[in-house]
Amino acid sequence: MYSAKVMEHFQNPRNVGEIKDADGVGEIGNAVCGDIMKLYIKVKENRILDAKFKTFGCGAAIATSSMVTELVIGKTLEEAEKISRDTVAEALDGLPPIKMHCSNLAADALHKAIEDYRSKKRIKEQK
Protein backbone atom coordinates (compact mmCIF):
# COMPACT_ATOMS: atom_id res chain seq x y z
CA MET A 1 0.00 0.00 0.00
CA TYR A 2 2.97 2.31 0.51
CA SER A 3 5.31 3.51 -2.27
CA ALA A 4 8.88 2.23 -2.29
CA LYS A 5 10.03 5.70 -1.29
CA VAL A 6 7.78 5.76 1.79
CA MET A 7 9.11 2.37 2.83
CA GLU A 8 12.68 3.52 2.25
CA HIS A 9 12.19 6.57 4.48
CA PHE A 10 10.38 4.43 7.05
CA GLN A 11 13.29 2.02 7.21
CA ASN A 12 16.04 4.66 7.05
CA PRO A 13 14.57 7.87 8.35
CA ARG A 14 16.75 10.97 7.99
CA ASN A 15 17.41 13.44 10.80
CA VAL A 16 15.86 11.58 13.70
CA GLY A 17 16.36 13.21 17.07
CA GLU A 18 16.09 16.45 18.93
CA ILE A 19 17.98 19.74 18.70
CA LYS A 20 18.72 20.79 22.26
CA ASP A 21 19.11 24.51 21.52
CA ALA A 22 16.54 24.60 18.72
CA ASP A 23 15.42 27.98 17.43
CA GLY A 24 11.93 26.71 16.69
CA VAL A 25 9.88 23.65 17.72
CA GLY A 26 6.62 22.53 16.17
CA GLU A 27 4.47 19.84 17.74
CA ILE A 28 1.34 18.47 16.18
CA GLY A 29 -1.12 15.58 16.46
CA ASN A 30 -2.58 13.63 19.37
CA ALA A 31 -2.64 10.09 20.63
CA VAL A 32 -6.32 9.55 19.84
CA CYS A 33 -5.73 9.90 16.10
CA GLY A 34 -2.49 8.02 16.47
CA ASP A 35 0.22 10.40 15.28
CA ILE A 36 2.34 12.80 17.30
CA MET A 37 5.14 14.69 15.59
CA LYS A 38 7.75 17.02 17.02
CA LEU A 39 9.95 19.00 14.64
CA TYR A 40 13.01 21.02 15.65
CA ILE A 41 14.72 23.65 13.48
CA LYS A 42 17.97 25.56 13.73
CA VAL A 43 17.88 28.90 11.90
CA LYS A 44 20.70 31.27 10.94
CA GLU A 45 20.32 34.40 8.85
CA ASN A 46 16.83 33.45 7.74
CA ARG A 47 17.96 30.01 6.57
CA ILE A 48 17.19 26.59 8.08
CA LEU A 49 20.56 25.07 8.90
CA ASP A 50 19.32 21.91 10.54
CA ALA A 51 16.08 20.07 11.22
CA LYS A 52 15.34 17.00 13.34
CA PHE A 53 12.20 15.14 14.29
CA LYS A 54 10.65 12.69 16.70
CA THR A 55 7.46 10.93 15.65
CA PHE A 56 5.05 8.47 17.23
CA GLY A 57 2.96 7.15 14.39
CA CYS A 58 2.44 4.90 11.44
CA GLY A 59 4.76 4.33 8.50
CA ALA A 60 3.40 7.37 6.67
CA ALA A 61 3.86 9.60 9.71
CA ILE A 62 7.50 8.57 10.05
CA ALA A 63 8.23 8.84 6.32
CA THR A 64 6.64 12.30 5.96
CA SER A 65 8.58 13.53 9.01
CA SER A 66 11.81 12.27 7.52
CA MET A 67 11.02 13.75 4.11
CA VAL A 68 10.13 17.17 5.45
CA THR A 69 13.45 17.47 7.27
CA GLU A 70 15.24 16.51 4.09
CA LEU A 71 13.29 19.06 2.02
CA VAL A 72 13.76 21.89 4.44
CA ILE A 73 17.42 21.87 5.35
CA GLY A 74 19.22 24.69 3.52
CA LYS A 75 16.03 26.52 2.57
CA THR A 76 15.14 30.09 3.53
CA LEU A 77 12.16 30.46 5.82
CA GLU A 78 10.08 31.82 2.96
CA GLU A 79 10.95 28.82 0.79
CA ALA A 80 10.24 26.45 3.68
CA GLU A 81 6.84 28.01 4.29
CA LYS A 82 5.81 27.06 0.77
CA ILE A 83 6.27 23.37 1.53
CA SER A 84 2.76 21.95 1.88
CA ARG A 85 1.28 18.58 2.73
CA ASP A 86 1.03 17.93 -1.00
CA THR A 87 4.70 18.80 -1.55
CA VAL A 88 5.68 16.19 1.05
CA ALA A 89 3.31 13.54 -0.31
CA GLU A 90 4.54 14.13 -3.88
CA ALA A 91 8.17 13.90 -2.80
CA LEU A 92 7.33 10.46 -1.39
CA ASP A 93 5.69 9.35 -4.67
CA GLY A 94 2.26 9.65 -3.09
CA LEU A 95 0.48 8.37 0.00
CA PRO A 96 -2.55 6.09 0.34
CA PRO A 97 -5.73 8.26 0.34
CA ILE A 98 -6.59 7.56 3.99
CA LYS A 99 -3.12 8.72 5.05
CA MET A 100 -3.36 12.04 3.23
CA HIS A 101 -5.23 13.72 6.05
CA CYS A 102 -4.48 11.64 9.14
CA SER A 103 -0.75 11.05 8.91
CA ASN A 104 0.50 13.76 6.59
CA LEU A 105 1.19 16.23 9.38
CA ALA A 106 4.86 16.94 8.82
CA ALA A 107 4.33 20.14 6.80
CA ASP A 108 2.02 21.43 9.55
CA ALA A 109 4.69 20.69 12.15
CA LEU A 110 7.21 22.58 10.02
CA HIS A 111 4.96 25.62 9.76
CA LYS A 112 4.46 25.54 13.51
CA ALA A 113 8.20 25.37 14.07
CA ILE A 114 8.75 28.40 11.83
CA GLU A 115 5.96 30.24 13.64
CA ASP A 116 7.58 29.35 16.94
CA TYR A 117 10.94 30.66 15.71
CA ARG A 118 9.39 33.95 14.57
CA SER A 119 7.46 34.56 17.77
CA LYS A 120 10.58 33.85 19.85
CA LYS A 121 12.50 36.26 17.66
CA ARG A 122 9.86 38.96 18.10
CA ILE A 123 9.99 38.59 21.87
CA LYS A 124 13.79 38.87 21.80
CA GLU A 125 13.65 41.98 19.63
CA GLN A 126 11.11 43.62 21.91
CA LYS A 127 13.47 43.12 24.82
Binding site: P13, V16, C33, F56, I62, C102
Partner: protein, 389 residues
Protein backbone atom coordinates in the same frame (compact mmCIF):
# COMPACT_ATOMS: atom_id res chain seq x y z
CA UNK B 1 13.27 -15.07 4.24
CA UNK B 2 11.63 -16.92 7.10
CA UNK B 3 7.88 -16.41 7.24
CA UNK B 4 5.90 -16.59 10.43
CA UNK B 5 2.13 -16.19 10.40
CA UNK B 6 0.78 -14.91 13.72
CA UNK B 7 -2.58 -13.59 12.58
CA UNK B 8 -4.79 -16.64 13.06
CA UNK B 9 -7.62 -14.59 14.55
CA UNK B 10 -7.92 -12.95 11.13
CA UNK B 11 -7.88 -16.18 9.19
CA UNK B 12 -6.21 -19.59 9.13
CA UNK B 13 -4.85 -21.83 6.37
CA UNK B 14 -7.11 -24.65 5.21
CA UNK B 15 -6.04 -27.94 6.77
CA UNK B 16 -4.90 -30.44 4.10
CA UNK B 17 -7.47 -33.01 5.27
CA UNK B 18 -10.19 -30.37 4.93
CA UNK B 19 -9.13 -29.45 1.42
CA UNK B 20 -9.08 -33.10 0.43
CA UNK B 21 -12.69 -33.77 1.43
CA UNK B 22 -13.85 -30.59 -0.33
CA UNK B 23 -12.32 -31.22 -3.75
CA UNK B 24 -14.80 -33.78 -5.12
CA UNK B 25 -17.65 -31.32 -4.52
CA UNK B 26 -16.07 -28.83 -6.92
CA UNK B 27 -15.59 -31.48 -9.59
CA UNK B 28 -17.56 -34.67 -10.13
CA UNK B 29 -19.98 -34.17 -7.21
CA UNK B 30 -20.99 -30.66 -8.21
CA UNK B 31 -24.75 -31.09 -8.01
CA UNK B 32 -27.27 -28.70 -6.51
CA UNK B 33 -28.73 -30.22 -3.33
CA UNK B 34 -32.18 -28.93 -4.31
CA UNK B 35 -32.22 -30.98 -7.54
CA UNK B 36 -34.02 -34.30 -7.41
CA UNK B 37 -31.79 -36.14 -9.89
CA UNK B 38 -28.75 -38.21 -8.99
CA UNK B 39 -26.29 -35.31 -9.04
CA UNK B 40 -28.51 -33.33 -6.70
CA UNK B 41 -29.16 -36.27 -4.39
CA UNK B 42 -25.44 -36.89 -4.07
CA UNK B 43 -24.88 -33.27 -3.00
CA UNK B 44 -27.89 -33.39 -0.70
CA UNK B 45 -26.52 -36.46 1.07
CA UNK B 46 -23.18 -34.69 1.59
CA UNK B 47 -24.96 -31.59 2.88
CA UNK B 48 -27.06 -33.48 5.37
CA UNK B 49 -24.16 -35.61 6.53
CA UNK B 50 -22.19 -32.44 7.17
CA UNK B 51 -25.12 -31.01 9.12
CA UNK B 52 -25.40 -34.12 11.24
CA UNK B 53 -21.71 -34.11 11.93
CA UNK B 54 -21.70 -30.44 12.98
CA UNK B 55 -24.77 -31.05 15.14
CA UNK B 56 -23.27 -34.01 16.92
CA UNK B 57 -19.96 -32.20 17.50
CA UNK B 58 -21.90 -29.42 19.25
CA UNK B 59 -24.43 -31.57 21.06
CA UNK B 60 -27.25 -30.16 18.95
CA UNK B 61 -29.78 -31.90 16.75
CA UNK B 62 -29.34 -31.57 13.02
CA UNK B 63 -32.46 -29.46 12.55
CA UNK B 64 -30.88 -26.82 14.77
CA UNK B 65 -27.89 -26.26 12.47
CA UNK B 66 -28.14 -23.78 9.60
CA UNK B 67 -25.31 -23.13 7.18
CA UNK B 68 -24.46 -19.56 6.21
CA UNK B 69 -21.69 -17.80 4.31
CA UNK B 70 -19.79 -17.07 7.52
CA UNK B 71 -19.72 -15.56 10.97
CA UNK B 72 -20.97 -12.18 9.81
CA UNK B 73 -24.07 -13.62 8.18
CA UNK B 74 -24.77 -15.80 11.22
CA UNK B 75 -24.51 -12.76 13.50
CA UNK B 76 -26.75 -10.68 11.24
CA UNK B 77 -29.37 -13.41 11.16
CA UNK B 78 -29.29 -13.90 14.93
CA UNK B 79 -29.56 -10.23 15.85
CA UNK B 80 -31.85 -8.87 13.17
CA UNK B 81 -33.81 -12.10 12.77
CA UNK B 82 -34.80 -12.36 16.44
CA UNK B 83 -35.26 -8.59 16.78
CA UNK B 84 -37.86 -8.58 14.02
CA UNK B 85 -39.56 -11.85 14.92
CA UNK B 86 -40.09 -10.65 18.49
CA UNK B 87 -40.75 -6.96 17.95
CA UNK B 88 -44.28 -7.23 19.32
CA UNK B 89 -42.81 -8.42 22.61
CA UNK B 90 -40.30 -5.60 22.79
CA UNK B 91 -37.70 -3.47 21.07
CA UNK B 92 -34.84 -3.68 23.55
CA UNK B 93 -31.64 -5.59 22.83
CA UNK B 94 -28.53 -5.91 24.96
CA UNK B 95 -25.02 -6.50 23.66
CA UNK B 96 -21.52 -5.45 24.73
CA UNK B 97 -19.11 -2.73 23.71
CA UNK B 98 -16.51 -5.21 22.54
CA UNK B 99 -18.50 -7.21 20.00
CA UNK B 100 -17.38 -7.86 16.46
CA UNK B 101 -18.57 -5.28 13.94
CA UNK B 102 -21.03 -7.85 12.55
CA UNK B 103 -22.98 -7.50 15.80
CA UNK B 104 -22.36 -3.81 16.45
CA UNK B 105 -23.31 -2.71 12.95
CA UNK B 106 -26.42 -4.93 12.99
CA UNK B 107 -27.38 -3.22 16.25
CA UNK B 108 -26.74 0.23 14.79
CA UNK B 109 -29.00 -0.67 11.89
CA UNK B 110 -31.71 -1.74 14.35
CA UNK B 111 -31.35 1.53 16.25
CA UNK B 112 -32.25 3.36 13.05
CA UNK B 113 -35.27 1.09 12.75
CA UNK B 114 -36.55 2.13 16.18
CA UNK B 115 -35.00 -0.57 18.36
CA UNK B 116 -33.18 0.39 21.55
CA UNK B 117 -29.77 -1.10 22.22
CA UNK B 118 -27.81 -1.25 25.47
CA UNK B 119 -24.06 -1.73 25.07
CA UNK B 120 -22.68 -3.33 28.23
CA UNK B 121 -19.31 -2.15 29.47
CA UNK B 122 -16.37 -4.47 30.17
CA UNK B 123 -13.73 -4.43 32.89
CA UNK B 124 -10.08 -3.64 32.27
CA UNK B 125 -9.48 -7.24 31.21
CA UNK B 126 -12.20 -7.18 28.58
CA UNK B 127 -14.84 -9.19 30.44
CA UNK B 128 -18.55 -8.39 30.80
CA UNK B 129 -19.75 -8.49 34.41
CA UNK B 130 -22.96 -10.59 34.63
CA UNK B 131 -24.24 -8.13 37.26
CA UNK B 132 -24.20 -5.43 34.59
CA UNK B 133 -26.37 -7.63 32.41
CA UNK B 134 -28.82 -8.13 35.29
CA UNK B 135 -29.09 -4.36 35.71
CA UNK B 136 -29.60 -3.68 32.01
CA UNK B 137 -32.50 -6.09 31.43
CA UNK B 138 -35.87 -4.42 30.91
CA UNK B 139 -39.43 -5.61 30.52
CA UNK B 140 -39.14 -5.24 26.76
CA UNK B 141 -35.74 -6.92 26.31
CA UNK B 142 -35.97 -9.66 23.71
CA UNK B 143 -32.35 -10.57 22.99
CA UNK B 144 -28.94 -10.56 24.61
CA UNK B 145 -25.95 -11.09 22.35
CA UNK B 146 -22.52 -11.45 23.96
CA UNK B 147 -19.52 -12.90 22.17
CA UNK B 148 -17.91 -16.04 23.59
CA UNK B 149 -14.32 -14.91 23.02
CA UNK B 150 -13.12 -11.50 21.99
CA UNK B 151 -11.16 -11.45 18.74
CA UNK B 152 -8.69 -8.72 19.72
CA UNK B 153 -7.62 -9.59 23.24
CA UNK B 154 -8.88 -13.17 23.51
CA UNK B 155 -10.88 -12.54 26.69
CA UNK B 156 -13.37 -15.30 27.51
CA UNK B 157 -16.84 -14.20 28.55
CA UNK B 158 -18.82 -15.80 31.37
CA UNK B 159 -21.31 -17.29 28.93
CA UNK B 160 -22.81 -19.82 31.35
CA UNK B 161 -23.61 -17.18 33.96
CA UNK B 162 -24.81 -14.64 31.43
CA UNK B 163 -27.12 -17.06 29.68
CA UNK B 164 -28.53 -18.28 32.97
CA UNK B 165 -29.72 -14.75 33.71
CA UNK B 166 -31.49 -14.44 30.36
CA UNK B 167 -33.11 -17.84 30.70
CA UNK B 168 -34.72 -16.87 34.00
CA UNK B 169 -36.21 -13.81 32.28
CA UNK B 170 -37.22 -15.69 29.11
CA UNK B 171 -34.95 -13.60 26.90
CA UNK B 172 -33.10 -15.10 23.96
CA UNK B 173 -29.34 -15.47 24.33
CA UNK B 174 -27.03 -15.42 21.31
CA UNK B 175 -23.28 -15.79 21.35
CA UNK B 176 -20.80 -15.12 18.58
CA UNK B 177 -18.51 -18.10 19.10
CA UNK B 178 -16.35 -17.51 16.02
CA UNK B 179 -13.17 -17.06 18.07
CA UNK B 180 -14.07 -19.75 20.60
CA UNK B 181 -14.39 -22.69 18.23
CA UNK B 182 -11.46 -25.04 18.51
CA UNK B 183 -10.15 -23.18 21.55
CA UNK B 184 -12.91 -23.95 24.06
CA UNK B 185 -14.95 -27.17 24.04
CA UNK B 186 -18.50 -26.13 23.20
CA UNK B 187 -21.56 -28.25 23.83
CA UNK B 188 -24.99 -26.69 23.59
CA UNK B 189 -26.50 -29.52 25.61
CA UNK B 190 -24.31 -28.44 28.50
CA UNK B 191 -24.71 -24.76 27.73
CA UNK B 192 -28.45 -25.30 27.67
CA UNK B 193 -29.35 -21.64 28.16
CA UNK B 194 -27.79 -20.56 24.88
CA UNK B 195 -30.40 -20.12 22.15
CA UNK B 196 -28.15 -19.21 19.21
CA UNK B 197 -24.47 -19.57 18.44
CA UNK B 198 -22.52 -18.25 15.44
CA UNK B 199 -19.62 -20.10 13.83
CA UNK B 200 -17.16 -19.50 11.02
CA UNK B 201 -15.15 -21.89 8.87
CA UNK B 202 -11.98 -20.01 8.10
CA UNK B 203 -11.01 -19.36 11.71
CA UNK B 204 -10.71 -23.10 12.36
CA UNK B 205 -8.58 -24.15 9.40
CA UNK B 206 -11.63 -24.48 7.21
CA UNK B 207 -12.48 -22.56 4.03
CA UNK B 208 -13.60 -18.95 3.80
CA UNK B 209 -17.16 -18.10 2.78
CA UNK B 210 -18.84 -20.67 4.98
CA UNK B 211 -20.14 -20.67 8.52
CA UNK B 212 -23.11 -21.86 10.49
CA UNK B 213 -25.52 -20.87 13.17
CA UNK B 214 -27.04 -23.05 15.85
CA UNK B 215 -30.64 -22.00 16.45
CA UNK B 216 -32.28 -23.89 19.28
CA UNK B 217 -35.60 -25.48 18.50
CA UNK B 218 -38.47 -23.12 19.24
CA UNK B 219 -36.57 -19.85 18.80
CA UNK B 220 -38.65 -17.35 16.88
CA UNK B 221 -36.54 -15.89 14.11
CA UNK B 222 -37.28 -14.08 10.86
CA UNK B 223 -35.18 -15.05 7.86
CA UNK B 224 -32.91 -12.33 6.57
CA UNK B 225 -32.43 -13.47 3.01
CA UNK B 226 -35.41 -14.45 0.93
CA UNK B 227 -35.62 -16.89 -1.94
CA UNK B 228 -35.93 -20.65 -2.15
CA UNK B 229 -36.68 -22.96 0.76
CA UNK B 230 -33.07 -23.72 1.57
CA UNK B 231 -31.96 -24.29 5.16
CA UNK B 232 -35.55 -24.89 6.25
CA UNK B 233 -36.50 -21.43 4.98
CA UNK B 234 -34.16 -19.67 7.37
CA UNK B 235 -31.53 -18.83 4.78
CA UNK B 236 -32.29 -18.77 1.07
CA UNK B 237 -29.61 -19.51 -1.50
CA UNK B 238 -28.01 -22.61 -2.96
CA UNK B 239 -25.82 -24.19 -0.31
CA UNK B 240 -22.04 -23.92 -0.63
CA UNK B 241 -21.64 -27.70 -0.62
CA UNK B 242 -17.82 -27.92 -0.88
CA UNK B 243 -17.50 -25.23 1.77
CA UNK B 244 -20.00 -26.91 4.07
CA UNK B 245 -18.32 -30.30 3.70
CA UNK B 246 -15.00 -28.59 4.48
CA UNK B 247 -16.48 -26.74 7.44
CA UNK B 248 -17.78 -29.97 8.98
CA UNK B 249 -14.36 -31.58 8.59
CA UNK B 250 -12.59 -28.53 10.03
CA UNK B 251 -14.90 -28.52 13.04
CA UNK B 252 -14.32 -32.24 13.53
CA UNK B 253 -10.53 -31.70 13.62
CA UNK B 254 -10.88 -28.63 15.84
CA UNK B 255 -13.01 -30.49 18.38
CA UNK B 256 -10.79 -33.58 18.24
CA UNK B 257 -7.61 -31.57 18.85
CA UNK B 258 -8.85 -28.89 21.22
CA UNK B 259 -6.97 -30.17 24.28
CA UNK B 260 -3.69 -30.78 22.47
CA UNK B 261 -3.92 -27.43 20.74
CA UNK B 262 -4.58 -25.59 23.98
CA UNK B 263 -1.57 -27.20 25.58
CA UNK B 264 0.57 -26.37 22.56
CA UNK B 265 -0.64 -22.77 22.27
CA UNK B 266 -0.45 -22.08 26.00
CA UNK B 267 3.17 -23.17 25.99
CA UNK B 268 4.06 -21.13 22.90
CA UNK B 269 2.39 -17.93 24.01
CA UNK B 270 3.58 -18.09 27.61
CA UNK B 271 7.17 -18.61 26.54
CA UNK B 272 6.79 -15.88 23.92
CA UNK B 273 5.45 -13.47 26.53
CA UNK B 274 8.22 -14.31 28.98
CA UNK B 275 10.93 -13.88 26.36
CA UNK B 276 9.56 -10.50 25.30
CA UNK B 277 9.11 -9.13 28.80
CA UNK B 278 12.63 -10.24 29.69
CA UNK B 279 14.18 -8.59 26.63
CA UNK B 280 12.03 -5.46 26.28
CA UNK B 281 11.11 -2.95 28.99
CA UNK B 282 7.61 -1.49 29.26
CA UNK B 283 5.64 -4.24 27.55
CA UNK B 284 1.96 -3.99 28.44
CA UNK B 285 -0.39 -6.96 28.26
CA UNK B 286 -3.84 -5.93 27.08
CA UNK B 287 -6.12 -8.51 28.65
CA UNK B 288 -5.26 -11.28 31.05
CA UNK B 289 -2.71 -14.06 30.81
CA UNK B 290 -5.11 -16.65 32.25
CA UNK B 291 -8.62 -15.52 31.36
CA UNK B 292 -7.98 -15.73 27.60
CA UNK B 293 -7.91 -18.21 24.77
CA UNK B 294 -4.33 -19.40 24.73
CA UNK B 295 -3.59 -18.57 21.11
CA UNK B 296 -4.03 -14.80 21.56
CA UNK B 297 -1.64 -12.30 23.10
CA UNK B 298 -2.34 -8.59 22.76
CA UNK B 299 0.66 -6.47 23.69
CA UNK B 300 1.58 -2.81 23.59
CA UNK B 301 5.16 -1.62 23.49
CA UNK B 302 5.04 1.74 25.26
CA UNK B 303 5.86 4.68 23.01
CA UNK B 304 5.50 2.71 19.78
CA UNK B 305 2.61 2.95 17.33
CA UNK B 306 1.02 -0.24 16.02
CA UNK B 307 1.17 0.18 12.27
CA UNK B 308 4.87 0.96 12.32
CA UNK B 309 5.34 -2.29 14.26
CA UNK B 310 3.29 -4.24 11.70
CA UNK B 311 5.39 -2.80 8.88
CA UNK B 312 8.64 -3.57 10.68
CA UNK B 313 7.56 -7.14 11.38
CA UNK B 314 6.23 -7.58 7.85
CA UNK B 315 9.64 -6.60 6.46
CA UNK B 316 11.00 -9.58 8.43
CA UNK B 317 8.27 -11.95 7.21
CA UNK B 318 6.13 -11.85 10.34
CA UNK B 319 2.38 -11.27 10.05
CA UNK B 320 0.49 -9.72 12.98
CA UNK B 321 -2.47 -7.36 13.48
CA UNK B 322 -2.91 -4.14 15.40
CA UNK B 323 -5.54 -2.17 17.28
CA UNK B 324 -4.23 1.06 15.83
CA UNK B 325 -6.53 3.46 14.01
CA UNK B 326 -4.18 3.45 11.05
CA UNK B 327 -4.84 -0.20 10.33
CA UNK B 328 -8.60 -0.16 10.82
CA UNK B 329 -9.35 2.50 8.25
CA UNK B 330 -10.89 4.71 10.92
CA UNK B 331 -9.42 7.57 12.88
CA UNK B 332 -9.93 6.02 16.27
CA UNK B 333 -8.13 3.24 18.11
CA UNK B 334 -9.82 -0.12 18.59
CA UNK B 335 -13.27 0.01 20.18
CA UNK B 336 -12.37 -3.05 22.22
CA UNK B 337 -9.28 -1.52 23.81
CA UNK B 338 -11.09 1.77 24.35
CA UNK B 339 -13.89 -0.09 26.17
CA UNK B 340 -11.21 -1.64 28.40
CA UNK B 341 -10.17 1.91 29.40
CA UNK B 342 -6.78 1.49 27.81
CA UNK B 343 -5.18 4.90 27.15
CA UNK B 344 -5.27 5.96 23.47
CA UNK B 345 -1.49 5.94 23.01
CA UNK B 346 -1.31 2.41 24.43
CA UNK B 347 -4.27 1.26 22.32
CA UNK B 348 -2.65 2.78 19.23
CA UNK B 349 0.36 0.60 19.89
CA UNK B 350 -1.48 -2.65 20.53
CA UNK B 351 -0.22 -5.63 18.58
CA UNK B 352 -2.27 -8.80 18.39
CA UNK B 353 -0.19 -11.94 18.12
CA UNK B 354 -2.57 -14.79 17.33
CA UNK B 355 -0.98 -18.21 17.07
CA UNK B 356 -2.27 -21.29 15.31
CA UNK B 357 -1.79 -25.01 15.09
CA UNK B 358 1.13 -24.82 12.67
CA UNK B 359 3.23 -22.44 14.76
CA UNK B 360 6.34 -23.87 16.40
CA UNK B 361 8.77 -22.97 19.17
CA UNK B 362 11.15 -21.98 16.39
CA UNK B 363 8.65 -19.32 15.30
CA UNK B 364 8.46 -18.03 18.85
CA UNK B 365 12.24 -17.82 19.08
CA UNK B 366 12.56 -16.07 15.72
CA UNK B 367 9.96 -13.39 16.47
CA UNK B 368 11.22 -12.90 20.02
CA UNK B 369 14.73 -12.46 18.65
CA UNK B 370 13.87 -9.73 16.15
CA UNK B 371 11.41 -7.73 18.25
CA UNK B 372 13.73 -6.02 20.76
CA UNK B 373 15.71 -4.20 18.08
CA UNK B 374 12.54 -3.14 16.24
CA UNK B 375 10.97 -1.76 19.38
CA UNK B 376 14.09 0.13 20.39
CA UNK B 377 14.49 1.60 16.88
CA UNK B 378 10.92 2.92 16.90
CA UNK B 379 11.25 4.11 20.49
CA UNK B 380 14.35 6.09 19.58
CA UNK B 381 12.17 8.01 17.10
CA UNK B 382 9.25 8.43 19.47
CA UNK B 383 8.53 11.70 21.28
CA UNK B 384 6.36 9.77 23.73
CA UNK B 385 9.01 7.39 24.98
CA UNK B 386 11.70 10.05 25.35
CA UNK B 387 9.38 12.14 27.48
CA UNK B 388 9.05 9.44 30.06
CA UNK B 389 12.61 8.23 30.18
Amino acid sequence: MKKVYLDHNATTPVHPEVLEVMLPYFKEKFGNPSSIHGFGREAKVALEEARERVASLLGASSNEIFFTCGGTESDNLAVKGTAYANRKKGLHIITSKIEHHAILESCKFLEKEGFVITYLPVDSLGVVDPKELGKAIREDTTLVSIMYVNNEVGSIQLIEELSKITKEKEIYFHTDAVQAMGKIPINVKKLNNIDMLSMSGHKINGPKGVGAIFIRKGVRITPWSHGGHHERSRRAGTENVPGIVGFAKALELAVRDVEDQNKHLKELTEIFYRKLTEAIPDVILNGDLNQRVFNTLNLSFKGVEGESMILSLDLKGVAVASGSACTSGTLEPSHVLSAMWIAPEIAQGAIRFSFGRDNTMEDVEYVASILPEMVSRLRSMSPLYAKEK
